[in-house]
Amino acid sequence: MYRGKVISVLVLIMFVILLSGFPLMLDTSQGALKFTVTPFVEAVKSYTDGLTTGESFTYKIKDRERSFFEDMTGFFTLSLTYLFIGGVIATIVGILAGGWMAGVRQNGIKDVVGFLGTIPDFILIILLQLLVILIYKSTGIRVAKVASTFNEPAVLLPLLTISLIPAIYLINSLSQRTYQIMTEDYVLTARARGLNKLYIYVQHIFRNLLPFLKADLYKVTSIMMGNLFIVEYLYNLPGMTRLLFTYGHQFNLIVNTLFVLAVMYVVFLWGMKLFVSGLERVFIYD
């Protein structure tokens, strides 16, 4: 049982090191594309050497040396908080709206929700920002912060974006599942016995929806991790991904950040699993 986990961690480590080192392997300075391994091997060697001395856990902003772990904790907390809040909102909205969508017969509404699901995250963000700016220009009312300033992160728009995209995914997938469950014979039996609709929804449909929701969590969390990069970048949030894009290509920094992101992903995934089990405890009882 543990073998699979160990292998997947080893694959991750190799993958992260190769990915972070890839830009070092290509050299275009001579006016042509050249492939070299030496700088990459040196970087990996100095990283592994620095693990014991702690040098691998430092990075540079301009010329100042900073400690990775000291700076990281704040970023980590912020990213994880946004992910959690977004994930919880997305799950609740997904279940409720998915149940509603399952009963919708008009194709038009399905077209619109489906299209919302295909709009890329960055377009959604820029459109929201444009909307806020245009409202401000015409009425003078500042609806929300468009981007974070020095010590005040934007809240409303980032949370809206980060929960909207997985919510639409869940609405689409859960509505199909709900529809499927509605066609089952046990629902017909329950109807025939005269149980009320709400009871059937919670005790029959929601209960049978949960396994699908749990299976969907993997997809949802990885969609949200992908969005996180774009959301933090475009709203200028002081989160984990800032370390990847702001301070140039420093091998140590990139490797460390990607590892911490992997840890964050797992924490997030387990948190979401816990949340869904909580829902199960509250609503489903015998």
């Binding site: 997947s8 960055f122 992908g226 990607l258």
Partner: protein, 311 residues
């Protein structure tokens, strides 16, 4: 049943004609561009009521520049018409290659007797989104590259293709294994049909509709990926960087592809909205035309019989 088929049809016609329109625009667009590709409208003097005034780009939309100009005085409409071919055709070709290669391998793995399911090793790798992988793969070659724009587009295309193939393989393999369970396939196998016969006569005819829908959805995914890279100044066909005192200062797209224009325009969101609105609307229209096409196809191919809900 015939009625349902009709319902799906307007989506297909609308999507197909929009897609063809975009492709036509990508090919002949440059001939209709109001300005030359490299023509810049620099600083100039204009006559106002209070006398002559010196103005500098970016110019807002006007009669001379329908969609305005960017910071360097390039005409937005001209740039978009010249850049369209890179965005549209890269997405098409990359998606097509993904489906062809992934579909072929998936079919082969699925038809193999006793073949084990080729599971995608996700797990912890779910934490690294695809665009981050492309980001690091392209980081070294995209800025002020010695390669020509076409060479760069080809390299970027190959990277994006390879990244998408594993997903397609597992989808197609799963479908093939499902289809193989059909009685008529087992029967023909029992009568000694070869692999090739089974693929061409039984599996592929059932699979081809799925493949078409898959292709259209892949195009949307590739467009999404191109757009995300554009935000980080990794433009299709390369980026020109001008270094200033504090590091990289100005970024320029070498090909004017749309994602790049969005990536550049977003920096002027607060002041000059015309620099970001046209490329974003064009990008959304492009995605919409593929989406509505895929919806139409899905409805057309949907099973003609299904159970009705009880609640």
């Amino acid at each position: 049943m015939t009625e349902r088929r009709k319902k799906g049809n307007w989506r297909i016609y609308l999507g197909l004609s929009l897609v063809l329109l975009f492709m036509l625009m990508a090919v002949v667009g440059p001939f209709f561009a109001p300005y030359d590709r490299d023509e810049q409208d620099g600083i100039k003097t204009i006559q106002t009521e209070e006398g002559p005034r010196i103005v500098a780009p970016p110019y807002p939309p006007s009669e001379e520049h329908w969609l305005g100009t960017d910071k360097w005085g390039y005409d937005m409409l001209t740039m978009m018409l010249y850049g369209a071919k890179y965005t549209v055709f890269t997405a098409l070709v990359v998606a097509l290659l993904r489906v062809l290669i992934g579909g072929g391998i998936g079919l082969y793995l699925g038809i193999r007797p006793g073949g084990k399911k080729w599971q995608l090793q996700t797990g912890w790798l779910g934490s690294i989104p695809p665009f981050i992988m492309v980001y690091f793969l392209l980081l070294a070659i995209n800025f002020n590259s010695p390669l020509s724009p076409l060479e760069l587009v080809v390299i970027q295309g190959i990277v994006m293709t390879i990244l998408g193939v594993p997903g397609i393989i597992s989808t197609i393999q799963e479908k093939t294994i499902d289809l193989k369970k059909n009685l008529f396939v087992t029967a023909s196998q029992a009568m000694g049909a070869g692999k090739w016969h089974m693929i061409t006569r039984h599996i592929f005819p059932l699979l081809k509709e799925n493949l078409v829908v898959l292709l259209v959805n892949e195009i949307i995914l590739v467009l999404n990926l191109i757009g995300q890279l554009g935000l980080f100044y990794l433009f299709l066909g390369g980026t020109i960087v001008e270094y200033g005192f504090f590091g990289p200062e100005n970024f320029l797209s070498r090909t004017f592809e749309w994602a790049g224009l969005i990536g550049l325009g977003k920096n002027f969101l607060l002041i000059n909205q015309w620099m970001v609105i046209p490329p974003i609307l064009a990008f959304m229209m492009l995605i919409f035309s593929f989406y509505i096409l895929s919806r139409g196809l899905e409805q057309k191919y949907q099973q003609t019989y299904h159970k009705a809900p009880h609640i």
